[in-house]
Amino acid sequence: MRSDVRAPVFQLFACCLPVKGARRSLLCDVQRQSFQFIPNGLYEILTEHAGKTVAEIKAAYGHEYDEEIDEYFDFLLQNEFGFWCDDPERFPPIDLTWEAPERITNAILDVDARSDHDYARILAELDDLGCKALEVRCFHGPSPAELQAILEAARYGRLRSLDLLVGFHPELTAEALLDLAREHQRISSVVVCSAPEARRLPPTQTGVTLEYRTEAVSSPSCCGKVHPGYFAINLETFAEAQRHNTCLNRKISVDARGEIRNCPSLPRSFGNARETSLHSALAHRDFAALWSINKDQIDVCKDCEFRYVCVDCRAYIQDGSDLYSKPSKCAYDPYTAEWHSSAERPAVLAGVQKGDPV
C-alpha cells in the first residue's frame, strides 16, 4: 500500500460556478439553471483553497472554523454542487470564452399604430446576419391579421425564437394566439399587455407560453427592468457576461419609426431601415461600441453577485454622463444584499442625446 496517497479533495462540478459579491456570493449551476446563495467564506474556500484537502483548509484557518467548514462541504455535497475525488486535475474548468458565428444573435422590432415597416426586407436582412432570436413589440393592440402579416415575413429563415409582446386587442383571444403559435412554430412566447385581467396559460406542447398582463407597455421607455424574473442562468449568458454586454452584444433594433439603433431606448440612430440596410448600420464604427461594456466594469454591478446572470441595460442608467453607470431600473444593492422597492428612479439616457447627428 502506498503511503503517499493524498486525502480526497472537493471538486465542484464544472457547471457550478461561484461568483463573489460584496456581501454574499452565488453558486450558479448553469446546467440546472439555478443558483444558491453562499457566504463569502465558502466562496473563498472554493476558489483560494481549491485543490486542498479538508485538513489543509482547516489548518489554513487555524482550526478556528472547523465546524463551519464541515457544514459547508455537507451543503455542497447534499445539493450536488460537487464531489470528493483524488484526481482533481482530471476535471478541468469550463472554458468561458464566448464566441458566436452570427453577426447578430438577437433583435428587437418595435411596431405601433403608425409604423410602416417593410417586414419582409427587415426579416430577410436579419436572417442574413444570422439572427436567432427576435422580439416583436407591438405597443398598440394589433389585430390577429396584423400579427399574421408580421409573422408571415418570419415564416422562413434561421430564426430560432420569436417573442411577441403586444397590446391588448379584443380579437387576440387565447384561441387566436394559440392558432398563430401553431402555424408559426418559431413563436416561443406571447405576452398581451394592458389586458383586462391577468392570466397565464400552461405552456403548449411545443413549449409556447401565453400570458395576459394588466400592466401597460406603451413605449420603449418601459424596457430596461432588472429583477430576478429576468435572470438567465445558463452557460451561454454566463460566458457572454465575462467579456460582453449581456443586453447589447450582437443586438440590433428597429424602432417603431424604422430607425436602426442598438436598442430602441438608446438615442443614437444609425439610419432608417427604409433607406439604410441593417448591414451598413452594423458596419458603422460606433455600432459595436457598447457591446464590450461588461458587468465587471459597471459601477456597483461589478460588486454584485448576480452580475453574470443578470441582463444589463445601458439605456436607462443612474448617471447619463457615465457610460459605466449602474442601470437605474435595478433596485438591488449588493452592499446590503437587499432589493429596494423604490425601483425606478427617473430614467436617464446614456450617450449622445436625441437629435445628435447620425
Partner: protein, 70 residues
C-alpha cells in the same frame, strides 16, 4: 420517450428509486425484455435546488415588471 413507455419503466424501479425526483430513463440494452433501467448522470439537471430560472435563454428585452398576481 412516450408516456406509456415511461410509465412502464417507472413501474420497474425499486421503491427507493421511485422516491427520487422524476428523471429521464434510458435502456442500456436494445431488447426491452433484458433492458436495465438506469438513472443516469443525465438526470442531474432535473433535480435543481435553490432558485431556479425558468427560461432557457436570456430575454431580448425587459419591459415587464415582476409577475402579476395571477
Amino acid at each position: 420517450m412516450d408516456d406509456d413507455h415511461k410509465g412502464e419503466l417507472f413501474a420497474r424501479l425499486s421503491p427507493e428509486g421511485r422516491e427520487i425526483a422524476p428523471v429521464g430513463y434510458r435502456f442500456l440494452h436494445p431488447r426491452a425484455t433484458r433492458a436495465t433501467v438506469l438513472r443516469l448522470v443525465e438526470c442531474r439537471p432535473h433535480r435543481a435546488v435553490g432558485y431556479v430560472c425558468g427560461g432557457f435563454r436570456k430575454p431580448v428585452s425587459r419591459c415587464l415588471g415582476p409577475d402579476d398576481e395571477i
